[in-house]
Amino acid sequence: MALTGRAALLAVAGALVVLAAPAPALAFWLVVAVIAVAVGVDLALAGSVRALRFERSDDQRVRLGETAEVTLLVANPGRRPVRGLLRDAWPPSTRPAPREHVIDVPAGERRRVVTTLRPLRRGDFTAAAVTVRAVGPLGLAARQGSHQVEGRVRVLPPFLSRRHLPGKLARLRAIEGLNPVQIRGQGTEFDSLREYVVGDDVRSIDWRASARRADVVVRTWRPERDRRVLIVLDTGRTSAGRVGVDPASGDPSGWPRLDWGMDAALLLAALCARAGDRVDFLAYDRAVRAQVTGGGRGDLLPGLVTAMAPLEPELVEADAHGMVAAVLARARRRCLVVVLTDLNATALDEGLLPVLPQLSSRHLVLVAAVADPRVAALAAGRDGAAEVFEAAAAERQRVERRQVTARLRRHGVEVVDALPDDLASALADAYLNLKAAGRL
């Protein structure tokens, strides 16, 4: 049960009556009795909360930064109307609004309650309790009770780098020779024959085909298709570090490396799918956290974001041996393995570098990492000894990073090391360069 402000007001009015009454003791007990009886009657006449039935809309998916509307159907099978407040409670970081709804459900009817969620974080969120406070006809007291109504909202990665997609697709078409006019593509795979037009490279004229026909015919080329790309996301402890500025909430404490990695992976996957390559996805720290295999072109991105949504950085050291084994088990044919991790010298020395030859001997490996703009800012600090000491530490870290990059390149590994905002674009460019060079 719960009381309302009206009950307290009644008690104050009763106190004034006691002050003025000729027999104050009697008046006091009378006032107490009146309040008790009124509250009791009100409680008895209030609609039953326990009997309410709830129905929720299906599980929802929403991109981070967008709003989700969750609807709740409240059915009142009782004989008395349920009037009062309803709270559909969700975890605080989904920022449910309004916090409480005013409801009035007549007996035997249903009402719809819509709560708007504006999530601050990626992940799965389950509904907490639905609480109803049904006020009695006198407005003095209310029955209150909670119901557990299943409901889930999956907040997907925002895929902010999709704004780069048109530009990268234009580049891809240029490589494929489809744009702006059909010129000789840069690829190595034979595509088709067509008639010669002025401006075509004379080296691409197919003399044998021209001899069979009246016209001069040129061969067109395009990059290899149906290559395989395996994107590996490191969800170990280094992926928890926050870098840059959180683009979803503007939080200056930054966005985890994991989220920047996801953003880059999504752009790469979208691009690969358009380029006709097959994309597999694997999230790994000490075990496989998520995987998407052989998605078709249509449902690749939805499958990817759904698989990525519940991923959280695990606070354990990533197991490079296990990761390489998992990659080798999935990629039997030669493919491009994109590892999204951090270029942390200690972690790579003990983890990836010793086992890298196993991977790079069979596959083309590309390591992509987010650089921290804060390290660059620290390295430029010159005001006072404290800043210079920090600058020295930052320089040392950059030197280590350069050394580790050089060692990776010696292993024949491609390295993309970019600031958070540029990572997705840089990774896409690296992929397009490999494709144009026919190295896939």
Partner: protein, 366 residues
């Protein structure tokens, strides 16, 4: 059923243990309070076992066969006064003039303990008191049998005209026995010196003792002076109680949450640059200027040598010569900056960092 609120039965089931334990504690406390040894009470109350009480004296008197009865109202005192010794233990509470007059009208022996002027006027007329006698152990110094037998005792307070013993602080005037202070009757003082004997001799003179010790003032003093409690109308007290009820209801209204607190598993928040900042602070805490200088110099060399057209394998002399030629700075100074010793202080380290910046900028811009 989706309801997660417990029913009344479930609630009773989960709370009955706690409620039972509470009830047991209250019951035990009541029993101990009712039948336990210690009793509180006012000064010279024959029920009280505190140092200020008079339970010990009452028990001693009863052991001698004296009937001791405590009364707290004028009516009872007047009724029992005749044929017994009336001990006025708390004269300061006897403020009702009518009651005092009624008491004065009854014959009988009286033991007045530190009487107020009003009590003295009513029950021992003609006697005057002189306050200001120090409370201390005194010798009897008189012929009164009770005092002579008792010997030294703790007396004092006021001295009375007509009283002979203990420097005038104890004496018999007519029916009334006057005592300037009641300290020697209390539980705390009774065992000292001749206190017990004096008390027994004075109070045990009769077979029946009426111990008049009210616990609150009786009546209003002459002249109609009222206390503050009596000036406040009875309504106000009940009004305050009604306000207490209102405050209680307000607290219940405001204190009730609409549903439980929602808990959530929050992600870790670790800034990636924290390790760098931590290492910088470590350098500073240990004054590791050698490592800091080395890191800064290495970084500048790594960035400038490609611009000078040199490879990573270039030697010190080669680099110094190239930098000096490019920037126009003195070769010795360039060598000192790029390959010199450890800076001697924090200021020197800051200066080194700025010098390195200058070299890097000059190489880049030239």
């Amino acid at each position: 059923m989706t309801s997660v609120t417990p029913t009344i039965t479930e609630r009773w089931r989960s709370w009955r243990g706690v409620l039972g334990a509470l009830a047991a504690i209250v019951l035990a406390a009541t029993v101990i309070a009712l039948f336990g040894g210690a009793r509180n009470g006012g000064r010279l109350d024959i029920e009280a076992t505190t140092p200020q009480g008079a339970r010990a004296l009452a028990e001693l008197l009863r052991a001698q066969g004296v009937e001791v009865i405590q009364v707290t109202t004028f009516d009872e005192a007047i009724e029992r006064a005749e044929g017994s010794l009336l001990v006025v233990a708390r004269p300061e509470f006897l403020v009702d003039p009518a009651g005092l007059a009624g008491l004065a009208g009854r014959p009988g022996a009286r033991l007045l303990i530190a009487p107020t002027p009003a009590v003295l006027r009513a029950l021992a007329p003609g006697v005057t008191a002189r306050p200001g006698a120090a409370e201390k152990v005194r010798a009897p110094g008189c012929e009164l049998k009770a005092a002579v037998l008792a010997g030294d005792a703790l007396v004092g307070g006021s001295s009375y005209s007509g009283a002979a013993c203990y420097d005038g602080t104890v004496g018999v005037v007519g029916d009334a026995t006057l005592v300037g202070s009641g300290s020697f009757l209390t539980n705390g003082r009774l065992p000292e010196d001749g206190n017990a004997a004096l008390a027994m001799n004075l109070a045990g003179a009769h077979q029946r003792v009426t111990w008049f010790a009210p616990r609150a003032p009786l009546g209003v003093p002459e002249g109609g002076e009222k206390t503050i409690e009596q000036l406040i109308p009875a309504n106000v007290g009940w009004f305050v109680w009604a306000l207490v009820v209102a405050v209680l209801l307000t607290a219940l209204w405001r204190g009730r949450r609409l549903g439980p607190v929602v808990e959530e598993r929050l992600p870790v928040v670790v800034r990636a640059a924290e390790t760098v900042e931590g290492r910088g602070r470590l350098y500073r805490a240990r004054s590791a200027r050698d490592r800091a200088a080395l890191a800064l110099r290495e970084a500048v060399l790594a960035r400038t040598t490609p611009r000078l057209g040199l490879t990573a394998t270039a030697g010190e002399n080669e680099i110094v010569a190239a930098v000096a030629a490019r920037t126009g700075q003195d070769g010795g100074r360039v060598r000192e900056i790029l390959y010199g010793g450890v800076p001697t202080g924090d200021a020197a380290l800051v200066a080194l960092a700025r010098d390195l910046d200058t070299i890097e900028r000059q190489v880049r811009d030239s």
